[in-house]
Symmetry: C2
Subunit: 188 residues, 2 copies
């Protein structure tokens, strides 16, 4: 089984969910397309890790809600003890930053100034999501054994990583303005 299968199974274990629900849970932390989720759910059901039933909704289209089986609980329990696969980052900006020397100074500065704008927007989205989360919990986080706790800590991580990235971009812009570069200590 692959990582996304475990992630989906874990969410269903936390509470029974539809493919659409799962997509929305995962989106903030893991890019995922609905086509992949529905395909994976079909496989999980085929392997008897989950069962499904149609739940009729009055105000919205009906949904197919998946529930974990005993067999599914066993594999998810085991997964937590397995070592983590190395993280995979694929970021076009990182490649451009690495190759920044191919550009002239004005182009280079533009690359980082645009990045700052992008990151500031990302930070705003994070803060908005934190506000939504607070509203979802009526302002109180009582227990860590909820999916809300996971959402909360990961949103905080994302937010502060973004802040560091912004400061890093500003540091690079300062470097680009210097006549004589050197191996400067990163200022924080």
């Amino acid at each position: 089984m692959n990582t996304i299968s475990y992630g989906i199974l874990g969410i269903i274990n936390a509470h029974s969910s539809s493919g659409y629900d799962i997509m929305n849970y995962l989106k903030p932390f893991r890019e995922v397309k609905h086509s992949q989720i529905y395909r994976t759910l079909a496989n999980l059901e085929k392997d008897e890790f989950v069962t499904s039933e149609i739940v009729e909704q009055a105000d919205k289209p009906n949904k197919k809600v998946y529930t974990i089986t005993e067999k599914g609980k066993e594999v998810i329990e085991e997964w937590f003890y397995q070592p983590n696969a190395p993280a995979l980052l694929r970021d076009e900006f990182v490649l451009k930053a690495f190759l920044v020397g191919l550009q002239d100074k004005a182009e280079a500065k533009q690359l980082f100034n645009e990045r700052i704008k992008y990151l500031e927007k990302k930070a705003r989205v994070c803060n908005e999501r934190l506000d939504i989360l607070k509203a979802d919990c009526d302002g109180v986080l009582t227990d860590f054994q909820t999916l809300e706790f996971g959402r909360y800590i990961l949103l905080q991580q994302l937010l502060h990583q973004t802040y560091v990235d912004i400061r890093w971009c500003q540091w690079v812009l300062d470097l680009l303005d210097k006549d004589k570069l050197n191996f400067l200590t990163y200022p924080f």
Copy 2:
């Protein structure tokens, strides 16, 4: 053309390189397997963005060195002005952190304590690579228009992102020890 093709082409533009060289340049910032690089290089040559020649080496096996063509320079120049594809992060730890509530407190703490160990090792590797870079440049970074500048700024980024991640893990461990959680401001 995909992102990795542009990255490889950009490196060859900076200076003519073999597949093996390219792999080592990319490794610290972008996980990539040699099989993908050699396949991509063959495609870039087929499309006449690069040319190749065998360079004989006395002390090592011969290598196939690729050089960019005029046609290749045009596409790489254009690439810099294109908007960046959204970054893609796939991290098994993030999924486990999201689902941390499925575990008991002891297991949860273990997850983050192990993560800290992993991140501390990552920070050490970053610092080692920074030392190697300094040695490669004889202690002086004169110009931003070198691949060394790109290596330098990205290693600094990675290092400081890692430091923030460590502090974040410690914050989560503190949270897990609290009896009454709440939406605490992240302490920095």
